[in-house]
């Protein structure tokens, strides 16, 4: 009897130990996988990029492609290095246009969205016009701005603004409108006034959507600034691209494209960083998951 009891107790404890062991192993495996995924998220695309560049470099050398058609990556790197002073100077001009265009988009877009959301007659009057105005190819308006505002900073900023402000408006309106009726009821039952309800519930509720709009807007602002410089430039990376094109300096053309791409990535990352500061972590995660699903 006692023997049986002992042995059963033994198997029970062994069994229990096994369970703990499995859980620990599982945890370890999950931990390893998470680390591997984190590394892979960087290593894979960088590896791919390097591989493509190597193939490009080899192809350019092997087939002796003329550099005005397709310069080798090494030639582009050399061009970036040789023209770094110019790239930085023109890059700063473009940066200024992007920032001003984006800030103007937010400064006009968010209040406009608020007015549209809060004031129904205004929304009825302006919303259809606003939406259908997006059918106008904004690039085609650029020469008009040149006529009106000359060759300075202003027309570029305005073109960047014109292209970039729409996503801010739409996403802000959508975010504000997405508030559930029950949350409004809840606020009323708490005796929360309209202003407090807006700042405590409605605005934070809309923030993920607003940030999605800001991210689209900043990439559009880059496009807008370059288009402005194409049309009536006296400086900036877009203007540099035109000059390089005229001189058949394809390496410099690529250098300009690399600089513009970097600018775009930096600005996008800045908005992403701001989003992470403002929103709780899971909301950012969910937003990025939604983007991936799209």
């Amino acid at each position: 009897m006692t023997e049986m009891f002992d042995s059963s107790a033994l198997t029970a404890s062994k069994h229990l130990g096994n369970v703990g062991g499995i859980e620990a192993a599982l945890r370890q495996r999950r931990h390893n996988r998470a680390r591997r995924d984190r590394i892979a998220a960087f290593a894979y695309p960088i590896g791919m990029l390097v591989a493509l560049l190597v193939i490009w470099e080899l192809a350019a050398r092997l087939f002796a492609l003329p550099s005005y058609l397709l310069p080798a990556p090494s030639a582009i790197m050399r061009s970036i290095n040789d023209n770094s002073a110019v790239l930085i100077k023109e890059g700063l001009t473009t940066t200024m246009e992007i920032i001003l265009g984006f800030v103007l988009s937010v400064a006009v877009g968010v209040p406009l969205a608020l007015a549209i959301y809060l004031w129904t007659p205004f929304a009825r009057a302006i919303y259809p016009i606003l939406v259908s105005s997006q059918a106008v190819p904004k690039v085609a308006i650029a020469p008009l701005f040149l006529v009106w505002f000359g060759f300075g900073l202003l027309p570029k900023v305005l073109i960047a603004f014109l292209i970039a402000f729409f996503p801010v408006v739409i996403n802000t309106v959508m975010g504000l409108a997405a508030l559930e009726q029950e949350k409004i009821y809840l606020a009323r039952s708490m005796g929360l006034g309209a202003v407090a309800t807006f700042f405590k519930i409605q605005l934070p509720n809309a923030l993920p959507s607003i940030f999605a709009g800001l991210k689209i807007s900043i990439t559009f602002a880059v496009v807008g600034a370059v288009v402005g410089e194409f049309v009536g430039g006296q400086g900036g990376l877009g203007y540099l691209l035109l000059i390089a094109n005229g001189n058949m300096d394809t390496a410099l053309l690529f250098a300009g494209i690399v600089a513009l791409t970097l600018l775009g990535i930096i600005f996008f990352a800045l908005i992403g960083f701001l989003e992470r500061l403002v929103l709780p972590p899971h909301a950012v995660e969910r937003a990025s998951l939604a983007r991936e699903a799209m």
Binding site: Y185, L186, S189, M190, G191, K200, I201, P280, A283
Partner: protein, 287 residues
């Protein structure tokens, strides 16, 4: 903190009147909605009164206007005709002397469990430290001790609804209004929350207006069950539940409990809310 909100209501000072007079009085309430397919009468001439400290459930089929009734009682919707009186005063704006719980938890994603409960305290400008202690105790009393810092997406459906109940209780409201609060939960979680609610309400002697589909839930929790007719929603019958408190799970198996359930069920059968399909024991041989 909540003392002030009580003083704001003039008649509640008169304690002796409270005994004779009903706390909540619903008088000839009707609600008609305008829809694309014409007007829909959601509530038809509903009248009843609730005493202080009484737990009243409304049970009825979907679309019988139960939720509409609750929203009107909360002052969040205006009735088409009739009136809601609280302590003899007509309600004509959203009431702030209530705690309200919806079918969905309606939590703010960017606030923690504690932060969501504290929203109520912040809105009412309660003393922050005292409210925080109260919120912590409330969360603990519904089994959420240690979860104060979790965000809603880290909690299960039942836990989220518990947070929402705590949010409705932190200011010690005079009246708790609940609109099918356990409708979206699984059966076991539901049982637990019903038990938790019964204890909370009993300890605080709360006045509760509770909307539900569930006959068992209504009988288990209530002092009175108001059975609603199908659309347009009216009062079919009011049933006094004379089971002792605290209510226990074992009570659900007593003949008394079964009798109350049967009464309500018969009303539903009589109104065609429920239909039985009787199997003929001898097919072909009809009397």
């Amino acid at each position: 903190m909540y003392r002030r909100s009580r003083a704001e209501r003039p008649l509640s000072v008169n304690k002796s009147a409270d005994h004779d007079q009903a706390y909540l009085r619903i008088e000839n309430l009707s609600k008609v909605y305008a829809t694309h397919d014409g007007e829909v009468r959601a509530l038809n001439d509903v009248s009843f009164a609730q005493r202080r400290g009484e737990f009243i459930s409304h049970v009825g089929p979907s679309g019988c206007g139960k939720s509409t009734l609750l929203m009107i009682a909360a002052g969040l919707l205006a009735p088409s005709s009739g009136a809601v009186l609280v302590n003899g005063h007509k309600v004509d704006r959203p009431r702030t002397d209530i705690g309200i719980v919806f079918q969905n938890p309606v939590l703010l994603d960017w606030r923690t469990a504690l932060g969501n409960v504290m929203l109520q305290a912040e809105a009412r400008k309660m003393n922050h430290k005292e409210a925080q202690v109260r919120a912590g105790k409330l969360l603990e009393s519904v089994g959420l001790g240690g979860f104060e810092g979790r965000f809603p997406h880290e909690l299960s459906g039942g836990m989220r609804q518990r947070v929402s109940i705590c949010r409705a209780l932190i200011h010690n409201p005079d009246h708790l209004l609940m609109d099918e609060p356990f409708g979206a939960l699984d059966a076991l979680t539901r049982d637990q929350l019903v038990l938790d609610l019964e204890a909370l309400v009993r300890e605080r002697r709360m006045t509760v207006l509770f909307i539900t589909h569930s006959i068992a839930e209504a009988v288990f929790l209530s002092d009175r069950v108001i059975v609603m007719t199908p659309r347009p929603g009216g009062i079919d019958r009011i049933i006094d539940i004379e089971l002792p408190r605290p209510r226990t799970l074992a009570m659900r198996d007593t003949p008394e409990f079964a009798e109350y359930s049967r009464q309500i069920l018969e009303l539903f059968l009589a109104r065609g809310v429920l239909r039985e399909h009787r199997a003929d024991p001898r097919p072909g041989v009809r009397q």
